[in-house]
């Protein structure tokens, strides 16, 4: 029992959000863009809050960003993450103006500060799911 692997929470995409997950599968971070007025929105959702258009396109994020905030999780709230604590989750201001939340790779906790430049990467998870991760630049 002790080495039984518990599945992590998996997304359940909807028609509104499927392109985002398909993008990650292709190692691309896609941001939804209003087809009518061009406003970017994240997380994916059906309607533009500026012009109420329900038509959207997707742009590929540059992957450049800076750290806005972070937390280091020590308590495993889900058995699927028990083997990974402590892990760092960073809130990142992407160059495109929306924020990403993702686990940090290759940056020590004490090196984190507001405004620290970072780069978005990708990591393969279970069942073909790719997730974004936050990495050092360069």
């Amino acid at each position: 029992m002790s080495d039984q692997v518990v599945a992590k929470p998996m997304p359940e995409p909807t028609p509104d959000t499927q392109p985002y997950w398909d993008g990650l599968r292709a190692r691309k971070l896609l941001i939804q863009s209003c087809a009518s007025c061009g406003k970017l929105r994240f997380y994916p959702r059906p309607m533009c809050d500026a012009c109420y258009s329900m038509d959207s396109t997707w742009i590929e994020a540059s992957g450049n960003g800076t750290v806005h905030s972070w937390t280091v999780t020590h308590h495993p709230f889900h058995a699927g993450f028990k083997g990974e604590v402590p892990y760092i989750l960073a809130t990142v201001d992407l160059a495109e103006g929306v924020r990403l939340n993702a686990q940090v790779r290759g940056i020590e906790r004490d090196a984190l500060q507001m405004g620290l430049p970072v780069k978005v990467g990708f990591e393969a998870g279970a069942d073909g799911l790719n997730l974004p991760v936050v990495k050092p630049t360069g």
Binding site: Y43, T71, V72, H74, E84, M114
Partner: protein, 382 residues
């Protein structure tokens, strides 16, 4: 038209707060509700409106068990920990519209012995966005979702964990005075600093309890409440407020501003009182940081000044703004703030026992829920 003094708290009731009730959630809610109804001097059949917390139990359960012949109003206010205080606004609005006279607000849960928080939130529609986009990353529980707000506040304003410790310590002190609290051992700032890290910067003693129990409040039309069993506690001002980006904290322009910042000015304006008039405050305390942030968003201090305010003892009994005089969610019980409403009513009636704030005349209670929804009620003794 305003809801100012349209309604009053006429009755409050709580079960024993435990970690392992051995009872059904419905049985506990009926017990607490009956206590509140009897406290108000009413019969269960007098209840003509119900706003249940909205998890597991519905208005129909009370109709069936209380034999209510003609329930005229039911609603839910699904805002997590902001629900109970938001339900006061809902009840006052229904009363003010002439729909009903006596509205039961009720919550009960086996939050300790049943499903724990990490498993529970994934099933709530308010967390649908988080469930799809953040839980797969490992951001599962409220402590993890809220910790970046606390970290941002620290980095922007130099706020210290030791300042939040003062909230944990004074709240524990008050719980010990209460007599119906889960946590009864005194703690120190050092204990707080030595408690294990949950999601940095939030330590174990920054986090609220998971509890079994139930609590209920009766909100009555003011013209009825003035002649009922207990001194009426009039609702002078009440409001709810939703933060920017209410479904995902990550996307919020200002991580340190909660929905309460929008609600508080409305409630103070409706009540016609100032911050100096507030004798006691029961402030939603799912986490110590959230208490400090609300003290700022309520306007007692400017944004960024909450750390020194809570760190300097202002929130203790006898301080400038005594808070959570019952022990709160941190040390009494996690009844999503219904216990805060019960305590405010007791304080303003003069029934708060060893934690009584001398001559408390006006007080406020807040709720905070989900990704930052806020609610506030300002009350006065009749």
């Amino acid at each position: 038209m305003s809801l100012r003094e349209a309604a009053a708290i006429s009755g409050v009731g709580e079960t024993a707060y435990t970690r392992g009730s051995g009872k059904s959630v419905l049985a506990m809610q009926l017990e607490a509700a009956l206590k509140a109804i009897q406290d108000a001097g009413l019969s269960p059949k007098d209840i003509d409106g119900i706003v249940p917390y909205g998890a597991g139990v519905v208005a129909e359960d009370f109709i069936t068990n209380f034999g209510i012949a003609d329930l005229r109003f039911s609603a839910v206010t699904p805002m997590g920990g902001a629900s109970c205080v938001a339900a006061i606004q809902c009840a006052a609005a229904a009363i003010s519209a002439g729909i009903c006279n006596h509205v039961l607000l009720v919550i009960g849960r086996n939050g300790f012995s049943g499903n724990r928080i990490g498993a529970r939130v994934a099933q709530m529609p308010q967390f649908r966005t988080i469930a799809e986009f953040e839980m797969p990353l490992g951001a599962i529980a409220p402590a993890q979702l809220y910790a970046p707000m606390a970290r941002r506040h620290m980095e922007l304003y130099g706020t210290k964990s030791e300042q939040w410790a003062e909230i944990a310590v004074s709240t524990r002190h008050n719980a010990i005075l209460n007599g119906n609290a889960t946590m009864t051992k005194p703690i120190t700032v050092e204990d707080h600093q030595n408690s294990r890290m949950i999601s940095d910067p939030l330590r174990l003693l920054d986090c609220s309890l998971e509890s079994d129990g139930a609590a209920a409040v009766v909100v009555s039309a003011s013209d009825r409440a003035k002649d009922m069993a207990k001194r009426p506690i009039y609702v002078m001002g009440v409001a709810e407020g939703h933060p920017d980006s209410p479904s995902a904290i990550t996307q919020r322009p200002d991580l340190t501003r909660l929905g309460l910042a929008k609600a508080a000015p409305k409630a103070f304006a409706m009540a016609g009182v100032t911050h100096d008039d507030i004798d006691v405050a029961e402030i939603y305390d799912c986490f110590t940081y959230i208490v400090m942030c609300q003290i700022e968003d309520l306007g007692f201090v400017k944004k960024g000044e909450g750390g020194p305010f809570v760190g300097d003892g202002n929130i203790k009994l006898g301080g400038r703004l005594p808070i959570n005089t019952h022990g709160g969610l941190l040390s009494q019980s996690h009844m999503a703030g219904m216990n805060h409403i019960c305590e405010l009513a007791r304080q303003l009636r003069g029934e708060a026992g060893r934690a009584q704030v001398a001559d408390a005349e006006i007080g406020l209670v807040t709720g905070y829920g989900d990704m930052g929804d806020g609610s506030i009620a300002i009350m006065r003794r009749g």
